[in-house]
Subunit: 415 residues, 2 copies
Amino acid sequence: MHDVVSAFVVSQGEELLTGLTMDTNAHFLCEVLTRAGLRVLGARTAGDDRDAIAATLVDAARTADVVLCTGGLGPTEDDLTAESVVEAFGGELELNDLAWDQVKARYARIGRTMSPANRKQALLPVGCDVLENLMGTAPGFAVNTSSTRMYFLPGVPREMKEMIGRLVLDDIATRFDLVAPLRHTFRVMGRGESQLQEQLGSLGTRFPGVQLGFRTKMPENHVKLVAAPGEANWESAKAWVREELGDNCFTEDPDEELAAVVGRMLVDRGERVALAESCTGGWVAHLFVSEPGSSRWLERGWVTYSNESKTEEVGVPEGVIAENGAVSEEVARAMAEGCRAHAPVDWGVGITGVAGPTGGSPDKPVGTVWIAIAGPSGTHARKLRLGRDRTANRRFSAFIAVEMLRRQILRLNAG
Amino acid sequence: MHDVVSAFVVSQGEELLTGLTMDTNAHFLCEVLTRAGLRVLGARTAGDDRDAIAATLVDAARTADVVLCTGGLGPTEDDLTAESVVEAFGGELELNDLAWDQVKARYARIGRTMSPANRKQALLPVGCDVLENLMGTAPGFAVNTSSTRMYFLPGVPREMKEMIGRLVLDDIATRFDLVAPLRHTFRVMGRGESQLQEQLGSLGTRFPGVQLGFRTKMPENHVKLVAAPGEANWESAKAWVREELGDNCFTEDPDEELAAVVGRMLVDRGERVALAESCTGGWVAHLFVSEPGSSRWLERGWVTYSNESKTEEVGVPEGVIAENGAVSEEVARAMAEGCRAHAPVDWGVGITGVAGPTGGSPDKPVGTVWIAIAGPSGTHARKLRLGRDRTANRRFSAFIAVEMLRRQILRLNAG
């Protein structure tokens, strides 16, 4: 059994405490440290107050083996990190030659002139290790206290993340005997968290040593397994979950989106899709085009927002709209089939609904959405009854449409 | 001068420290407390460890006048809040009759049967004030320590937010002599944060007592003014900033999106727009349709992803594509003008570019995007040179297109 290496995360900046900025850095660091095998014991946000920052750093160093602190490295007066470090742990600041060269080189590279304030960014605690910032002007640094390795990184997320990957994780791994836990993710459509809980809740007793976790990313759910390195039950636990989830799991790659999975399935079949979207207003197109290489499977899309455009673009007969209303199974089917008729594609998607917050009627209340998928073996339509939130309704409808397309392709693949 | 009422925010849950869940509650509470006139001195995340939670609560109560703690009120063993409160401040837990009635009533209302574990949710510190949860099963509660009013709320964001609005803010306001600060927001396109800093940085010396803040929401920037209630310089500071920003400020309503402003301008003119999007893949449509009532100004859109669709849908001549390439000023112009020719609209938007991460060429590298706006007085086109990030390129292009449309309408309005 390895000793657990503990960590503490400090975020610094008055804008975090006034709610002007959301602290995404702490979340990122908690995730990345946990993945690397550390146990995060706590996280703390401090404002632009030197005494408060110093007290927070002392407390963090007392708590954990590794401390990561973001923010407060800039050139202005409210950037107080280096001063707080010497207040907390003693020592003095000096102009660090290496850091100063890095700041100057960075300014030269981006062709900007420096102000006298930039010199402050190279005033670092005597004896610290400089961490070069390749994407911004503020160098980071690391110090050792009697018990703790402390890293100080810029608050700009992309600068911080790049430095974590290039410099910090390796440094932690070489200083501590880290072994990352086993982790596996199943991404699921079509089952809610409580259904998954009911279906998979016995995992811990079936496979002792394997932990089960859930994360909802509406309308998706992620099932997560975690175990200590070398856990004997690991493979059988994964196989059991895989069997239980069946087709509801669309990928076991934690970073693969539903739209990417569908794109891959279409490319494998050599087929393409066109989209006729009304209430989703291009959201499905947006999901597809978010995936690199989407031109291989997305041929085109229409945002047929007006009734005229439904008729003119994808050939929904005026009479069908007049008879059934724009939000109807008939119109959704005609839109999906019109995609296939009006573009050189194998698959068509039609979506029409009342996104809200107003515009509903007694028989078609806000949240009523019809989705149709037209494909090589016919057209399949489904009605959704959603809530009153416009954005949630549109998001949900777009994802369900992509999922319905996946189901239809799966059915064809199964023969 | 009022005494400042201080606050401290505690978030509880192991899933926050392992990075499984992002803590949006702390951000929400920091913002809402600051708006209400409190000064948030710090925020702390604790895991599922009773001693650590108790120590965090003791420290929070020592620091601030008001403490808000979310999470840990559920029925399971890792829900430790009530136990931690008595460990931290003494006293005992008892079955709280009021809370127990609320739990039972909630289960009856949603028609679910209770498990024995639910009784735990009504085991609260003797003498606490119960805070009814109308959207979930876990009641909240509040206690007074010698110096501090402490609120304990569920971790589920919608439950917590509803209780903050209905119960907590009023309770704080009646216990403390709160006066909310003056706040004003200018939402800006077309100027970066450093440009704004340079232009507006003298505000503090021009108008003592008024503070300036920035928030970047790429590619937008928000300029924020804050002052104490009754500040004499308030109106003149706002007027100065308004004058400086001119047309770069598209709204002074902090909640109004750029797409809503453009929609309002179009409705005022009785005009509509159609969209031909390639690399943005429906993102502009998505921005427009996100606004309720968008059917009044968005007539239709095309995601003309393939070359054929550019020709077939909006009439871009094949020769123009062959001669200039799909990513060119000529094609963008033809797409924008094709919108006006192929739909009953006054305005057309054409966007074509290399979103990346691959697909560039030496003369059209990744990040090259052409945007054209066709309107009643001609067509205006602009080239963007963006970076290598596909999502950032697409987001940026979509917002710039909406902003270009706003500029063209402004120009017409100015006559």
